[in-house]
């Protein structure tokens, strides 16, 4: 199978280049990650992240034939050759397919991604109805792979100011949690021309999310809450 892969080693390369590979696969090579691991046995200098190989840890996000996705759950049969692999767009490249995700995580951390409830907890669990719990579906499943934020033009232009779809999805995950007591502060935190309102509903995030989540919908719900609390 033919590949064209973005290569950049800061110790050797003045600028990035695309390297062609043509490698025979075996019948057990099902996913793109299997092919990358086979490639690495031939060229051990090829650098990429990977861990769980089943789409739950979020390590191996990359740009695959122009679209962000996870290598471990991208079936080779769905890919047109040569398969062009690039690092996630918009973030600084450390090496090859490995990007520096500091900015991404900084935005995630900026939404205070943890439950805030300062009333003393009961001896048992805090109660939450099934309906209240359902509000978290489609939010808590995020794996922080950054496919969405790095597919978002607003994040490309303003990665330091716009929280981005992943961070906003998590902001809403806590706003939507019946146990959280910090909703107003969370909305204050986002009431800003950039942090929330740079989302122009381009919806690339929805298109690429490997877990089928919908950050745009979460962003719309945050905007609705902003409007509601002003009237």
């Amino acid at each position: 199978m033919k590949f064209r892969i973005y290569r950049y080693d800061p110790e050797k390369d003045a600028k990035p280049r695309l390297q062609e590979y043509d490698i025979p696969l075996d019948s057990h090579d099902r996913m793109l990650l299997d092919a990358l691991i086979r490639l690495k046995t031939v060229d051990d200098s090829l650098a990429f992240r990977r861990s769980c190989r089943e789409g739950v840890c979020g390590s191996d996000a990359m740009n695959i034939n122009g679209k962000n996705g996870l290598a471990c759950i991208t079936n080779l049969k769905t890919l047109k050759e040569p398969v062009e692999l690039r690092p996630l767009p918009g973030l600084p490249v450390i090496r090859d397919l490995i990007v520096d995700m500091s900015q991404f995580f900084k935005q995630y951390h900026s939404v205070k991604p943890y439950l805030v409830n300062d009333t003393p907890p009961p001896e048992r669990e805090r109660l939450q109805s099934p309906a209240e719990r359902e509000e978290l579906d489609g939010l808590y499943e995020c794996i922080l792979c950054a496919c969405c934020s790095t597919a978002c033009p607003s994040f490309w232009w303003n990665p330091d100011k716009f929280v981005g779809p992943a961070g906003l999805l998590q902001a809403y995950r806590f706003i939507a949690d019946s146990r959280d007591q910090d909703v107003n502060a969370r909305l204050d935190n986002l009431e800003d021309p950039y942090r929330l309102f740079r989302c122009h509903t381009i919806m690339n995030c929805v298109d690429v999310c490997p877990k089928g989540l919908n950050p745009t919908l979460a962003i719309e719900k945050i905007k609705d809450l902003m409007v509601k609390r002003t009237v």
Binding site: E11, F48, S51, E54, V56, E125, R126
Partner: protein, 587 residues
């Protein structure tokens, strides 16, 4: 050569469930804590746990911690230490409630309490019938738990060293552990991390086998570090095969599928577990179900063109249950097995999943080794928690849901114990002048060696060897040959070389360093398995088919030096209740 050095009160190697539960206790108490991880914390392998956390909340059926304790002792085939098991099962409700208070998105019952599902080997009233004990967040319990713990660590401002690999323990002449050497993967720098307490929380090592549910990062780094520092590894012959890995792919399908009512079928369409475990059937403990599946396949009742797997049927649960309680399982089955379980069964085979053994500890997480006649002398400065530790609550076979519980209970207890030692009031013991030499020599070899065997080739050979010589069914000939092959592979590991000599994010170097850890785990496992002349829990010897409590009701200790074995007694006396004496194990 003197390494650049950074100092902390406490250092945690690994940012999975156990490491991050421990760090929360330490950060909350105001200690300076560094948590080191090869991957961003939410990518740790805890994220892949699916089914639930065992705790006798009794939300959906009557339950008690004593029943949980009995099930765990029985599940361990009586090799588990009953004091540690009592401690874990008593603490279980508390740590689950704490996790809920932290924001864990558990599924809920109509009354607002945490949803619980049945799981393998968990029973009511000492084996009478199945019980609902597994506290679940759909089939993403590990993901929910790991993210919740990370979130709380963000709140507690825990300091993480992300994409740093631990290399070796630093011990002084008295044997006290003073920290570690570590590699910053992004820059290639090697640094000494100097600490008053070092906690190993490096998880499992399932990557010594060819077919494994484990992530690529599960290379037993903490075990390799301990073994090289002269610390024995306990009960390493006991490796759990999870009954339901996707055939061919190895990806885990939670036991929660059977907890929700899924069943296993052979090629005749027969629910064969009724024959092997008339009472709990498909929800017998994992060693029993895995052996039964292998027996079916061996006797020609496997499915598919090669008759080499069985089927996990769940379509009868209906789309509503599958979409609500098992959504990720459906995703996995569609992606990795080409079947939609709403309509068709999933092809499954027993697949390596969990390491019951590990670095020997007590319930405070302190590492303990035999010394001067005391089988459990504390190694000052060193702790281990989670899958890399052997406390031992899982004995010869772990019950499903007890691994997440283990992480929470012992991560917390190690954290509390270290806090109680009042570390900030002590000064650091000085590092020995040669603290970095050993690690630097390992790296120098990789930097200079050329023309050796490829790391991937030797690693794959090791995985194939362990798979065929240390698998579900074992005997003297197979294991002896396995030991010989693994020892040959050890020599080959020392002669590997890497093509990539660069410093920046050199993953070839990381994989070579991981192989140094995998080989220690493999040696410990196959040598311990060969010596144990009995069948108990996950160790099934066709030449010694019975459990032998007279000679083998004891823990194995393997030492790297000379491949030496030693043994120590099992704690049969619990903390407060009567002992559960060994008896025949049926489900």
């Amino acid at each position: 050569m003197k390494l650049p050095t950074r100092r902390f009160d406490a250092l945690i190697v690994g940012a999975g469930g156990a490491g991050m539960r421990a760090s929360l206790q330490l950060s909350a108490a105001g200690l300076t804590v560094a948590v080191l991880s090869k991957v961003f914390p939410t990518r740790s392998h805890t994220v892949a746990a699916q089914g639930g956390i065992g705790a006798s909340l009794g939300n959906m059926s009557e339950d008690s911690w004593l029943w949980h304790m009995y099930d765990t002792v029985k599940g361990s085939d009586w090799l588990g230490d009953q004091d540690a098991i009592e401690y874990m099962c008593r603490m279980a409700p508390q740590v689950v409630y704490e996790l809920e208070h932290m924001g864990m998105p558990f599924d809920r019952n109509a009354d607002g309490t945490i949803y619980q599902r049945p799981f393998g080997g968990h029973s009511m009233n000492f084996g009478e019938k199945s019980v609902r004990r597994a506290c679940a967040s759909a089939d993403r319990t590990g993901h929910s738990m790991l993210h919740t713990l990370y979130q709380q660590n963000v709140r507690a401002r825990t300091q993480f060293f992300v994409e740093w690999m631990a290399l070796d323990l630093i011990r002084d002449a008295e044997g006290t552990v003073l920290g570690i050497t570590a590699l910053d993967m992004e820059t290639g720098d090697v640094v000494a991390l100097h600490a008053k307490a070092t906690i190993l929380a490096t998880g499992g090592a399932g990557r010594i086998f060819a077919a494994s549910t484990n992530a690529f990062i599960n290379t037993g780094d903490g075990l390799g570090m301990a073994a090289r520092a002269g610390i024995p590894l306990e009960d390493m012959e006991f490796w759990q095969f999870h009954p339901t890995g996707v055939a061919g792919a190895g990806v885990l399908i939670t036991e929660g599928v059977r907890g929700e009512g899924g069943i296993l079928l052979n090629s005749n369409g027969e629910r064969f577990m009724e024959r092997y475990a008339p009472n709990l059937k498909d929800l017998a403990s994992r060693d029993v179900v895995s052996r039964s599946m292998d027996q079916e396949i061996k006797e020609g009742r496997g499915c598919g063109p090669h008759k080499d797997y069985v089927l996990l049927k769940l379509d009868h649960l209906g789309p509503e249950v599958i979409l609500k309680r098992l959504p990720s399982i459906r995703e996995i089955a569609i992606k990795f097995a080409n079947v939609d379980p709403i309509k068709e069964p999933i092809p499954v085979v027993p697949t390596i999943h969990y390491m019951m053994g590990g670095v020997p500890t007590n319930i405070h997480g302190q590492v303990v080794v035999p010394k001067d006649g005391n089988p459990e002398t504390v190694v000052e400065g060193l702790y281990a928690v989670g899958e890399c530790a052997c406390v031992s609550v899982h004995g010869a076979n772990r019950l499903g849901t007890n691994s997440l519980l283990d992480l929470l209970v012992f991560g917390r207890s190690a954290g509390d114990f270290i806090v109680s030692r009042n570390l900030p009031s002590f000064v650091h013991k000085p590092l020995p002048p040669d603290a970095g030499d050993f690690s630097l020599a390992r790296l120098a070899r990789l930097d200079s060696a050329g023309g050796g065997e490829r790391v991937a080739d030797v690693g794959n050979e090791l995985r194939r060897t362990m798979q065929s010589h240390c698998g579900v069914f074992r005997n003297e000939g197979l294991l002896a040959e396995g030991v010989a092959k693994v020892m040959e592979l050890e020599a080959r590991v020392a002669r590997t070389s890497i093509g990539d000599k660069s410093r920046t994010f050199n993953t070839a170097r990381v994989e070579a360093l991981e192989l140094d850890n995998l080989i220690e785990v493999a040696k410990a496992s196959v040598v311990s398995a060969l010596a144990r002349h009995e069948s108990r829990g996950a160790q099934a010897r066709s030449d010694y088919p019975e459990r032998d409590d007279v000679h083998w009701l004891k823990h194995t200790l393997w030492y790297r030096e000379g491949n030496r074995l030693d043994y120590k007694p099992v704690h049969l006396t619990p903390m407060t209740v009567e002992s559960f004496p060994p008896k025949a194990r049926t489900y």
